[in-house]
Symmetry: C2
Subunit: 354 residues, 2 copies
Amino acid sequence: MSLEKLTKVRVVGSGLIGASIGLGLVQRGVLVEMVDADAKAQSLANDLVGGTKLNNPEVVVLAMPTSQLSLVIAAENALNPNSTFIDVGSVKSEVQLKVEAISGLSRRFLPTHPMAGREIGGAASARADLFQGRSWIVTPSRDLELESKALVLQLINLLGATPIELSAADHDRAVARISHLPQVAASLLAKQLTGTPAEWMELAGQGLRDTTRIAASDVALWKEIIFSNRVELKQLLINLQNDLGTMIASLDDPEKIAGLIAAGQAGRALIPGKHGGKAREYSFLPIVIDDKPGQLAAIFNECAVMDVNVEDLIIEHSPGQLSALITLALSLSDAEKLSSHLSMIGWNVHPIRN
Amino acid sequence: MSLEKLTKVRVVGSGLIGASIGLGLVQRGVLVEMVDADAKAQSLANDLVGGTKLNNPEVVVLAMPTSQLSLVIAAENALNPNSTFIDVGSVKSEVQLKVEAISGLSRRFLPTHPMAGREIGGAASARADLFQGRSWIVTPSRDLELESKALVLQLINLLGATPIELSAADHDRAVARISHLPQVAASLLAKQLTGTPAEWMELAGQGLRDTTRIAASDVALWKEIIFSNRVELKQLLINLQNDLGTMIASLDDPEKIAGLIAAGQAGRALIPGKHGGKAREYSFLPIVIDDKPGQLAAIFNECAVMDVNVEDLIIEHSPGQLSALITLALSLSDAEKLSSHLSMIGWNVHPIRN
């Protein structure tokens, strides 16, 4: 079998994801037609990405919330009986069911999930490089044709993403644990702040900010994701609820409290560090700076001079103060090198933490 | 009443907090004696801070975990019958009870809580400026003498911190909500990662990292804090458990899910922004950079050139990739200014998010 080359793609749905796919493919020389139920949105999207009317696209991308898939899937299949299909939703088992309900479609439909952030925004926010360097999960069914799979992998590679193959069930279990459960935990934790006096909130530190950051996420988006993945999520929520119950029952027993905190520490250590490696042990170098333009630039200049690679950075502002504490995450050797260099030239450097 | 000037302070306990208090006061011209149950640690601490043998200190600082207070409080009171006392523990009601159990002591004992981070480390990690720009909560009882209170406020101001007055009960309620509850939630959430396949963990994004960051905290420290504040914490944990139960029972009802996520969004919005103001609405400017030294410096140089103040920064590394996505938090006008400037000179700038 000689592999078909991807030359024509029909993108149904012109939100951020659809329009970004269109833009990225056009920039790589693929002809694209943008399609939208709204005629004006469709015309705008084609203008934006440089789209054109197409017949017989090799791939049709269904770039819409999974709840809207049912509205278009049969019609698009009838219209493009030889095309390969993908969707881009956050939950995959229900897509698989929808596909299997249409005779023969599962041979030409590969459910996918680009891990490209969840920025809100329509076609106007689209970027050709939205998927560059991101993971793009594919969940092929057993009867998917090789030719179809090869076309989709071409599409993903053209957009600069890395395809990762999982079963639909494993995908949904994985994202339930690493994405949907943390979202529910953060939202319900933030809900507990309701009614807190403003003077108490003034004392909030980085811990509260970090643990609740994603509670600010889009409500409509998460309503759909949580509902779609409720089967996988339910047991995880019950486990968390049970562990909360254990903590409540253990409050009079310091050793049991310690056991639960230690189990959390061990779980946290499973999160890998950058470049997909195992979690690396960074050293942390705190530096007090004036909170004004130019201070961070000056520090990063010194990092460049000393050939020090900053792995991460935390900026903390004290309430009511005009100074800020920045903490650089570095390798231990870089932290030691930078610490003595910065101290020598007069920066307010605190001791390295590991 | 003329106010007594702070000239002599006895610091009992030579861990990070005690030694930092000693160092900071010596640098401001106050005579300090460091005291430790361990003779060697005591001698080292006095060498480190420039301590000296003292009689009749105006203030005695009990810088040890609250669980160890009972061991020294009576002896120190007998030894220094005219001195003012403070402690520095994370929970205050139980300290108040310990103090009230000793006749007359509550007139000269002010429980306090410096909000100076929880770095682990002994005297060797001490810093004279550990408390600079931090809040330092004081929880005076009704019979505290004015002279004692004035001495403690002098001490706090000398160390560069801002005293904030709360009742012991309010302090414990406030930190239960803004610090201890988030710690338990993060620890129990991270505990759910136990046994997750490594391939799934590779897909972890910034949301999981942020929500579980503090789960890596010191177990012994949190064992004591949670146990000490269990009375205030219990109802908050039960509320969270109940909300989890409501979510579990609502999984088949998208509108109820949306209601819970929206309540979390509203709670999150109560967290104030920098400088103690109301939460500011930052704009976020994502930029793709090569993951090598000098890239961040170059960007911060452009920020300085354009007079743009970076409020916060997030660095994300894609698994297996050598590029990184950095996101700058800026005012909207700064984001717009910087975005067009960086784009013009060839940086890979993504659209501004609000």
